[in-house]
């Protein structure tokens, strides 16, 4: 695990900004239209999702092993 992705589901409105800006297709919207981690291993902890989230719903930290 290169990175830790934390999602505050109560804040996510499913706008898709994080999904669109993720350079590694780590994120996707689930059946209910909220963000989910679809491919966590691909995350490079670039922080684009967190930077652009208008709802402060997603946070990414470099993992312990990284």
């Amino acid at each position: 695990m290169k990175s830790e992705i934390t999602i505050k589901m109560g804040r996510c409105k499913g706008c898709g900004i994080c999904v669109a800006f993720c350079p590694k297709q780590v994120l996707a919207l689930d059946e209910l239209g909220k963000v989910q981690v679809a491919n966590g291993d691909a995350c490079i902890a670039c922080g684009q999702c967190e930077l652009r989230c208008p709802d402060y719903a997603i946070f990414v930290d470099k993992g312990a092993e990284a």
Partner: protein, 274 residues
């Protein structure tokens, strides 16, 4: 994982009321990050807002906060600053709030050079009332009150602020989040009227009507069309075309702020020193 800026939000008020993908949340975060960067005290900073989507920001921010009437944030803020000059006074306003109903207050705040930091969330539309044209809706763009495209020439609020006497004028966008934080933080450093226009996407009322795609697409539009001032200045006129626009700090000037000037009035009148 808890971010240090979270302490500047009233956690029990979140999530905010803005639509999915609205850029206001990004601009609000940029303000608290700038506050953190400059180490402004939470107990000594007042957030003043007008009416509209942007102006709901004050309710989420953990400071003394004042949600005023439509267009009137700058006069209230002027009174606060003069009554207690030790307070840092930040104004959050929108394009309609600041340049239409509050236009006169805006230019006179600039003229007085009262020590406020005014952040205008420019979404190019009246969002709260459902998408009517504002004085900052670009020519040709559609709104519910401009169904055939707007023919009202828009304001460039940065030009307006500079011409009216503001001593710090800058623009950034929701896409350029870190740059936006810097522009606001530099505004805090200026003792005088600081104006920062933050271009934010309104996917619901503006983007949809003008076929601008998803919220992410609207941010990509900002990425593709915003040009940093240094590059913009070197751009030949014929290349400043289409929807390209400059961002960065446009203007800085040294001038006495209103409160300092009024202290001289008190001195001349023989009044009590502070």
């Amino acid at each position: 994982m808890e971010r240090s800026y979270e302490k500047y939000f009233r956690q029990n008020r979140l999530p905010h009321l803005w639509c999915p993908g609205c850029g206001n949340g990004i601009a609000m975060k940029a303000i608290v990050q700038a506050i953190e960067k400059k180490g402004l005290s939470q107990d000594n900073t007042v957030i003043v807002s007008g009416i509209g989507c942007s102006s709901r920001a004050s309710g989420y921010m953990d400071f003394d906060t004042l949600h005023t009437a439509h267009g009137r944030a700058i006069p209230f803020a002027t009174g606060i600053k003069l009554a207690n000059p030790d307070l840092n006074v930040v104004v959050i306003t929108g394009d309609g709030d600041c340049t239409a109903i509050g236009g006169n207050h805006f230019i006179h705040g600039c003229r007085r050079n009262i020590d406020l930091t005014v952040v205008l969330f420019n979404n190019n539309i009246y969002g709260m009332t459902g998408g009517q044209a504002s004085p900052m809706t670009p020519l040709g763009k559609k709104a519910t009150t401009a169904p055939y495209g707007s023919v009202d020439r828009p304001f460039d609020a940065c030009h307006l602020a500079e011409a009216a006497g503001a001593t710090y004028v800058a623009r950034s966008t929701a896409f350029h989040e870190k740059h936006l934080v810097d522009m606001i933080a530099d505004g805090f450093d200026n003792k005088g009227f600081s104006f920062i226009e933050a271009l934010v996407q309104c996917p619901t009322a503006y983007g949809r009507k003008n076929k601008m795609g998803s919220p992410a697409n609207m941010m990509m539009w900002m990425r593709d069309n915003a040009v940093m001032k240094a590059a913009w200045d070197k751009l030949p006129e014929e290349k400043k075309t289409g929807e390209k626009f400059p961002i960065g700090c446009f203007y800085k000037a040294e001038a006495m702020d209103y409160d300092t000037a009024y202290d001289q009035v008190i001195e001349r009148a023989g009044g009590a020193a502070k």
